[in-house]
């Protein structure tokens, strides 16, 4: 299916050689000089593109997994939302229809990202971050209060915190790549990182959306680790996170209650929070094989927000352990494909970007699922691809598009070097111009 280590070293060496050239130009550049870096690295693929008009070569496994998730998600969104939608909007299809529209938009953005060279993102980073900050401030000013927090714009249709998560990962991957030499310097590395994360996380935290803020901080930390932050500093970050976490647990009313409920729930699951108890009841009802899609009862009898936060419980009840484990495995596979793309990325920015994005997606997924099975305190993280919610879906699909774009560039680079890696399937196989299998074709290219 995919060729392993032997060839990967080739890919790496390719990436490394290119990196050597770009190092010089970036060394003196701080944040502003990304563009230089991008232009140079982008040049080569662009010239290559003249030979091959369009490349339909992506990490097809990832695309396949994403499509399965989307289809499964649509099924579950409808199942989990019709009752909720009816009681809130008098229309059982409202949430589902919105999800379809957002999905269409998401797919368009994803496709666009697949064909845009990810290095272009470097130019877009600063304006996009600015727009995100403006949107986050706008949320606070417009102040549409829903359930005691204002998190949305345009009557709940846009949730900028989802965009912020995506932007954080993209921006940090560019920023870390540009500064990789200075990461050990606290003043140039850790403190600006703290400022960036603090601004984004802080704006989200005062909405308040504690879960999203914590997610952004965690992503920042993980990316710092991937980018090559010093272990000392990472240790410091962990200690800092623990202290802040402890403070939140002690003094934040929502945070402390959720953690207290969680600790109660660990001892006796039936003593935990209402959401967890209902969620466990759903899993218990579902048994090994589920009650059948559409037939869950907890979703219509008070399981909190079934279309979003609790959708995994609906999956558990309707498809049983088999179905929900399948979903967990899908996310696992997605994560694995993401890391494959990261490993094979043509440069460090691509690697960091792919890894960061896939870590974000799977982190959200695992947190959401862990909450549902009483492994973590209650949070508000959506289940990517599955949960109803346009902003998250579009943001996630954009991320997928970027990762696939990275895989496309990697593939092309390898093709040029005559070493495509086999996990990638050439879509042109079906357009009958070439009908070789991957293995035979790789031989053909090599001759």
């Amino acid at each position: 299916m995919f060729r392993s280590l032997g060839e990967r070293t080739d890919i790496k060496s390719g990436a490394r050689s290119r990196r050597k050239r770009t190092y010089q130009s970036v060394v003196d550049g701080l944040g502003v000089s990304f563009s230089q870096f991008e232009e140079r690295t982008a040049q080569k693929p662009r010239s290559a593109a003249k030979n091959h008009t369009i490349h339909f070569k992506f990490d097809i496994w990832m695309l396949l997994i994403v499509f399965i998730l989307i289809i499964f998600g649509l099924l579950m969104v409808y199942s989990a939302s019709y009752d909720y939608s009816f009681s809130w909007y008098d229309d059982p299809n409202m949430i589902f229809n919105r999800q379809l529209i957002w999905l269409a938009l998401g797919l368009v953005v994803m496709t666009a990202m697949m064909f845009i060279d990810y290095h272009v993102l470097g130019k877009l980073a600063v304006p996009v971050v600015t727009i995100t900050v403006v949107l986050l401030i706008a949320v606070l000013i417009v102040n549409e209060v829903v359930n005691g927090a204002s998190r949305t714009l345009y009557r709940g249709s846009v949730q900028p915190s989802e965009l912020a998560k995506l932007v954080t990962v993209v921006y940090l991957s560019i920023w870390f790549t540009a500064r990789r030499e200075q990461l050990s310097n606290v003043g140039f590395g850790l403190i600006p990182l703290g400022v960036i994360l603090g601004v984004l996380g802080g704006l989200i935290a005062i909405q308040p959306d504690l879960s999203a803020a914590v997610t952004i901080l965690a992503l920042g930390g993980l990316m710092f680790f991937l980018a090559g932050g010093e272990l000392k500093q990472i240790g410091l970050l962990i200690v800092l996170a623990l202290v802040i976490g402890w403070l939140v647990v002690q003094f934040h009313p929502t945070g402390s209650k959720r953690v207290a409920d969680y600790l109660d729930g660990l001892e006796d699951p039936t003593a935990g929070s209402y959401q967890v108890v209902r969620s466990l009841e759903a899993f218990n009802n579902g048994g090994w094989f589920g009650v059948g899609i559409g037939k869950a009862t907890t979703k219509v009898t008070g399981l909190p927000v079934p279309p979003t936060d609790s959708i995994f419980a609906v999956v558990g009840e309707e498809t049983g352990v088999i179905g929900s484990a399948f979903l967990v495995v899908l996310y696992g596979l997605l994560l694995w494909r993401g890391f494959i793309v990261a490993r094979h990325a043509p440069d460090e920015m691509g690697a960091l970007l792919a890894a960061g994005l896939i870590v974000w997606i799977s982190l959200e997924a695992f947190i959401n699922m862990s909450v549902s099975v009483n492994l973590l305190p209650v949070t508000g993280n959506p289940l990517p691809f599955i949960s109803a919610g346009g902003s998250n879906l579009v943001a996630t699909l954009t991320a997928v598009g970027i990762i696939l774009g990275i895989s496309r560039v990697s593939v092309r680079k390898n093709e040029e070097k005559g070493k495509p890696f086999d996990a990638v399937i050439d879509l042109r196989r079906w357009d009958r111009r070439r009908s070789q299998s991957g293995a035979r074709r790789s031989a053909g290219v090599g001759k």
């Binding site: 009898t301 352990v321 994560l335 099975v373 009483n374």
Partner: protein, 589 residues
């Protein structure tokens, strides 16, 4: 950083992340593999998804004998706060105090309560009529549109203020017949009168059902039959007129209270039961104000008192019936008689010389009646009183009837002197309804009918007529008629204030000193009058009791005119033609 190190970090993170799915799947399996937890979750789920709910039927309605509604139901609202939704307790307190008259500080304190797992809701006020809820609704909408959105703590907000409808008791006639009806408290329990006596019948049978929240399992709520309706023997118009009569009398005579019982001696049906004080039943929470400490809710059935001379009717009835005296028997009144060591004198301390029984009753001579009682003898005398129901509840279908007290030979506190004093209504306590029922035997040819307020119960479309019962037959018809004529004649000879033009009535006044712990030392009296008519075909019996009249202590002065006024109202309302016209009508072929 070295590429190798970077690669290692990627691998490390990737590996760490694979822990998540493994643990999640493990946990899912664990949930399934724990039967105890499963059972517990199912049990908890059952109570959450199928909460039990009590369906309370609409309380039965109460109608007067002509079908006028006396007690019914209507939708009222309770207004409260959902504590966890409250944003600004001050706005809520201001609104409810301005619109609904709730005390501001009370409302503020209630709305400021912290929501917890045990307290989520605080009631502010109940029984709010729909008109006021309409006003509240408008204000809530205005506040919502003016101040929507925002997190400013001090912004006015009515969030959390809610109102829920429920059925509440309504008494369209307000104070009318309040002493008969009783009321229903906030918890839906009947208090006093019919509401208490027939509480379970009126309330109907509530049903506990489990209501699935799952819309796919939705089922129609089982309908529960409404509580039974009651149809009374009370006539609203008669009751209203009698209440006006007694209120006027109380005001004019300066009495502490007044009670007026109207019943049909032929059937025992109570047509009116008017007494003071009365309350607006729609405001049952004012009960303690209207009825301060120890004030009976319905004096007519609860308050036993020493009836005084009206009791002589029963003494004379037993003497005539047992044959101890005849109306023509002459007693020489020397103004004093000693029985069992007690010296009895007349009301004016005078000696009235030879008097037949007619005269004894007409002048209400205590000495004479004490002698009559001795002629009857204690055994027969008390047997008659028992048969008249003295000392026992009459069994009227109202809650809280008092039994009074009749001391009898053999009781530790009975002395021989009691025979003489009981003869003119001292040393014996009876309620107005007991007296009215007992004397109705004389009006109804010796047959004493059980008093009744409810003539029919309408339950689930069926009307159950309540049987009229004979309570006892304490004397012969002949004796009863004889005594009736005797009493009618005494009224006429006395030219009493009780006489009504066109209608021949029989009756007896009564004035009783009020006993204190030291004996009959006060000047205050209970003035009573009992009368019935028309004499040859009695249709009504009226019992009047004025407590502690201020202008005159004498029953003949204060109570007799009340009887007349009552009869004058009654004959119109009952369509009773004057005696001569009636006789003419009935003699025509």
């Amino acid at each position: 950083m070295k590429a190798q190190e970077r690669s290692r970090r990627y691998s490390l993170l990737g590996t760490l992340f694979t822990v998540f799915p493994v643990i999640i799947i493990f946990q899912m399996v664990r949930i399934q593999a724990n039967p105890d937890l499963g059972q517990k979750l199912r049990d908890m789920g059952e109570t959450i998804t199928n909460p039990s709910m009590t369906i309370t039927p609409a309380r039965g309605q109460i109608y007067d004998q002509r079908g006028h509604l006396l007690a019914g139901n209507r939708t009222v609202y309770e207004v409260g706060v959902e504590l966890q939704d409250v944003k600004n307790p001050m706005t809520i307190a201001q609104t409810v105090s301005a619109l609904l008259g709730v005390n501001y500080d009370y409302a503020l304190a209630r709305a400021s309560l912290q929501a917890s797992s045990t307290s989520v809701y605080a009631l502010l006020i109940d029984n709010v009529p729909p008109e006021e809820i309409e006003k509240l609704k408008v204000v809530i909408e205005q506040m919502n549109s003016m101040y929507s959105g925002g997190k400013d703590e001090n912004k006015p907000s009515l969030r959390g203020l809610v109102y829920y409808p429920h059925l509440g008791r309504i008494y369209p006639e307000e104070t009318l017949a309040s002493n008969i009806l009783g009321f229903v408290n906030a918890e839906g329990e009947g208090y006093f009168g019919l509401e208490e006596r027939f509480d379970s019948l009126l309330a109907g049978r509530s049903k506990k059902v489990r209501v699935p929240l799952d819309p796919n399992r939705a089922q129609e709520l089982p309908s529960v039959p409404n509580g039974a309706n009651l149809v009374l023997t009370i006539d609203r118009e008669v009751q209203r007129a009698m209440e006006q009569v007694i209120d006027r009398a109380v005001a004019q005579t300066g009495s502490d209270s007044g009670t007026l019982v109207v019943l049909d001696p032929r059937t025992g049906e109570v047509m009116a039961l008017a007494t003071t004080p009365r309350m607006d039943l729609n405001q049952f929470w004012k009960f303690a104000q209207v009825f301060p400490k120890d004030t009976p809710f319905n004096r007519a059935i609860t308050q036993a008192y020493e009836p005084g001379s009206v009791f002589k009717v029963l003494t004379m009835a037993s003497a005539l019936d047992v044959g101890a005296v005849t109306p023509e028997t002459v007693f020489v009144d020397t103004g004093v008689i000693e029985v069992g060591g007690a010296v009895i004198t007349n009301w004016n301390q005078g000696a009235w010389g030879p008097q037949d029984m007619q005269g004894c009753m007409q002048h209400s001579l205590n000495v004479c009646l004490a002698w009559v009682a001795t002629q009857v003898g204690p055994e027969d005398f008390y047997r008659y009183l028992r048969n008249f129901g003295i000392g026992h509840v009459s069994g009227i279908d109202l809650a809280g009837e008092g039994s009074g007290r009749l001391k009898e030979p053999g009781d530790s506190d009975w002395y021989e002197a009691e025979l003489a004093t009981n003869a003119f209504g001292q040393g014996v306590a009876a309620t107005p309804i007991q007296m009215a029922v007992a004397i109705s035997a004389i009006a109804n040819q010796g047959v004493m009918m059980a008093p009744q307020v409810v003539q029919a119960v309408v339950s689930e479309g069926y009307q159950h007529q309540i049987d009229q019962r004979v309570l006892s037959m304490p004397l012969k018809a002949e004796t009863a008629n004889k005594l009736s004529r005797l009493l009618a004649r005494s009224l006429e000879l006395e030219s009493s204030d009780a006489l009504i033009t066109g209608y021949r009535v029989a009756g007896k006044t009564g004035t009783a000193e009020i006993p204190t712990p030291d004996g009959y030392t006060s000047n205050q009296t209970n003035a009573s009058f009992v009368g019935w008519g028309p004499l040859d075909d009695p249709r009504f019996l009226i019992y009047v009791w004025l407590e502690k009249p201020g202008i005159s202590p004498w029953g003949s002065v204060v109570a007799a005119p009340v009887f007349r006024e009552a009869v004058e109202e009654l004959v119109v309302l009952l369509n009773l033609p004057p005696d001569d016209i009636r006789r003419k009508l009935s003699s025509e072929p």
